[in-house]
């Protein structure tokens, strides 16, 4: 017989990396701690504080996505947090007021309900606005700015200016927004007494579950093709453009997602803490969350969440124990983390840099 034909080379099946179970295992562990251990261990007041930090963690998750993964340093997440918060606050205010006017409007001499407020009576509309308004503002700003290749520090400055403008706008429109005091004194949250321990406990679970769901979503996004593209945009925007993608689209989508997250966080913050006011969403609170993300570790989504919770605790602890030292400490921590550990706390635990 003729010489046996050599087998044509078969493309080797791609080596399947063994699935790394440590991430999901850690997530499950944290979920058990968050959903079972904490509610059993913590007294209602402390559980409420944790719920507040978890709403901040939702904002931080968005910052982690936009800044850590996408390189967009957004210093105006407070704006979106506030838009979501005010949408929820307006609904609660109207619900409490029944047929009358919200209390602060009476005090500032407003006689008829402003047209802007009217649709917020409807809970479905209000909840839709929590997502739609921050998303739309971010999408518009992102489109206008990224299309013109305004990026990096310019973008950071613009978002900061937006935060500053938003605060002045809210403070100035006393009759419409409650001015400096913001919206507060809520009584009822969807038929329940908002201050009751059982309501607050339910809210804690809601916040924790929303955070968990958003985290998994963001994580999947990060692992997807889109996530790869986002990293590529962060590290070499021009190269991505030369490869035929439009970085502006990728950035706008990501920025919008992060804004929606902040909006949801703001809406949850309102019933948990019982207030939304300009002081909670200006330049300083927005920057504080960015710091928290930097401290936790900006290149990992888990770092962002960790940082927000830790900084929340640190702030409460030090403002109770050493109120004067807190600003020094925060400043110093900030300088040290950026200077010495740009990868944050998570950076110490990671064997290799997966995302960075």
């Amino acid at each position: 017989m003729t010489a046996t034909l050599e087998k044509p080379p078969v493309a080797e099946a791609p080596v399947k990396e063994p699935r790394d179970w440590r991430g999901p295992a850690l997530f499950a562990l944290v979920a058990v701690i968050g959903l079972v251990v904490m509610p059993l261990v913590l007294e209602p007041f402390r559980l409420g504080l944790l719920a507040k930090y978890l709403t901040y963690a939702i904002v931080a998750l968005g910052i982690g996505l936009a800044w850590g993964q996408g390189g967009m340093l957004t210093l105006g997440q407070g704006v979106f947090f506030g838009l979501g918060g005010y949408a929820m606050g307006m609904h609660l205010k109207l619900n409490d007021a029944g047929d009358g006017l919200p209390d602060f409007m009476v005090w500032s001499g407003v006689e008829t309900l402003p047209a802007l407020w009217e649709p917020f009576r409807n809970p479905v509309f209000a909840i839709a606005m929590v997502v739609v308004v921050p998303g739309a503002v971010a999408w518009l700003l992102g489109t206008l700015v990224f299309r013109q290749r305004v990026r990096g520090a310019y973008f950071a400055i613009l978002t900061q200016a937006l935060a500053a403008a938003m605060v002045i706008l809210l403070v100035g429109q006393q009759g419409l927004t409650g001015g400096t005091n913001g919206l507060t004194n809520f009584f009822e949250f969807f038929g329940r007494d908002v201050a009751a321990d059982s309501t607050q406990r339910g809210l804690y679970f809601t916040v924790a579950i929303v955070l968990g769901v958003l985290f998994v979503g963001a994580w999947q996004l990060q692992r997807s093709r889109f996530g790869r593209l986002l990293l590529a945009v962060r590290d070499g925007e021009d190269r991505v453009r030369f490869l035929g993608y439009n970085p502006a689209t990728v950035k706008t989508i990501t920025f919008t997602i992060s804004a929606v997250m902040a909006g949801i966080a703001g809406a949850l913050f309102v019933p948990v803490v019982g207030i939304i006011s300009p002081a909670l969403l200006g330049v300083v609170p927005s920057l504080e969350l960015v710091v928290a993300v930097a401290v936790g570790g900006r290149f990992a989504l888990a770092g962002a969440v960790l940082g927000a919770v830790l900084m929340g605790y640190a702030k409460t602890y030090f403002s109770e124990e050493l109120p004067d030292a807190w600003l020094y400490l925060q400043g110093a921590l900030f300088i040290l983390v950026i200077g010495l550990a740009p990868k944050g706390i998570i950076g110490f635990f990671r064997r290799k840099d997966v995302a960075a």
């Binding site: 520090a153 500053a164 938003m166 706008l169 925007e237 600003l327 900030f334």
Partner: protein, 288 residues
């Protein structure tokens, strides 16, 4: 009509202050890629310098304070540059966060030293009165800004140091290979830029009280001037600062104070649609 005329001095003087603040920012940003959030605290330092000098100079403290505040703020900037910022050149976003930490600390230092309530600096008696619609104190601020711009222009274009500064701004590597000590140039730029913020602080004492958070009111607007004017551009900063000051005061006049900032923001976003890199651009073939 009279209202329109009355807004003019307010807009021009705020523009002049913004210009003094933005000059330092635009040079440090353009030359070193540093976004200095602590710049606002140099303004505050300048203002408190004038406050302290009242004990020695009485009502003429403002005049004495001008050179002293320049030195004080300039030295603060130099120390910041030497100890921290120089390790972060070319990482603008990191410097932004780092210097914000510094700014927090400096604000708290001011609170501990001078107390949280605002203090007042009495302006010289010869600055009371007005030239037509233009109060003397606002005219003084305007002249101060004009003088500073002329001085900076002469420095940049007519002195060897200034030309080196321009060279570094245009192309750092090429400047370095031509024998320019770029580190030294950076220090000088930082000193001068911070010093100008100190002068702006003194100017601000003429039109308002002084407090630990004085700088935070102006820093965001000053950054917008940098964005609108173009990086490291003297002409751009002058035009953008005056335009922003006027726009601010007229937007407040025609609508109200709370809408004005939103209008200014919208105008700047619209402006960036036509000039994404600001009014004037340093032309280069570099991609980014």
């Amino acid at each position: 009509m009279e209202g329109i005329l009355n807004q003019l001095p307010i807009g021009l003087s705020i523009g002049a202050v913004l210009l003094l603040i933005a000059l330092g920012l635009t040079f440090t940003f353009g030359q070193m890629g540093v976004i200095n959030m602590a710049h606002g605290e140099f303004i505050m330092a300048g203002a408190y310098t004038a406050y302290l000098l009242q004990d020695f100079a009485g009502r003429n403290a403002v005049l004495v304070a001008l050179p002293v505040a320049f030195l004080v703020a300039g030295l603060m900037g130099l120390i910041l540059e030497r100890t921290a910022i120089r390790h972060f050149y070319g990482r603008p976003l990191d410097t932004l966060l780092l210097t914000w930490g510094v700014s927090l600390v400096l604000q708290q230092v001011a609170r501990d030293l001078f107390g949280a309530p605002n203090v007042q600096v009495l302006s010289p008696t010869w600055l009371q009165g007005a030239l037509g619609p233009m109060p003397y104190n606002r005219l003084f601020i305007l002249l101060l800004a004009v003088g500073s711009v002329v001085a900076i222009w002469v420095y940049m274009n007519r002195s060897a140091q200034g030309r080196r500064m321009q060279a570094v701004m245009q192309n750092r590597q090429l400047a370095a290979t031509s024998g320019i000590n770029t580190g030294r140039v950076d220090q000088r730029t930082f000193f001068i830029g911070s010093g100008l913020a100190g002068i702006a602080g003194v100017a601000l004492t003429l039109i308002g009280p002084v407090g630990p958070t004085l700088g935070t009111y102006y820093i965001v607007d000053a950054f917008l001037v940098v964005v609108a004017g173009g990086l490291g551009q003297l002409r751009g900063a002058v035009i953008a600062a005056l335009a922003l000051g006027l726009l601010n005061s007229y937007a407040e006049f025609w609508t109200n104070a709370s809408l004005a900032k939103v209008i200014v923001f919208a105008v700047i976003i619209a402006f960036l649609q036509f000039r994404p890199q600001g009014l004037f651009v340093l032309r280069s073939r570099a991609l980014t």
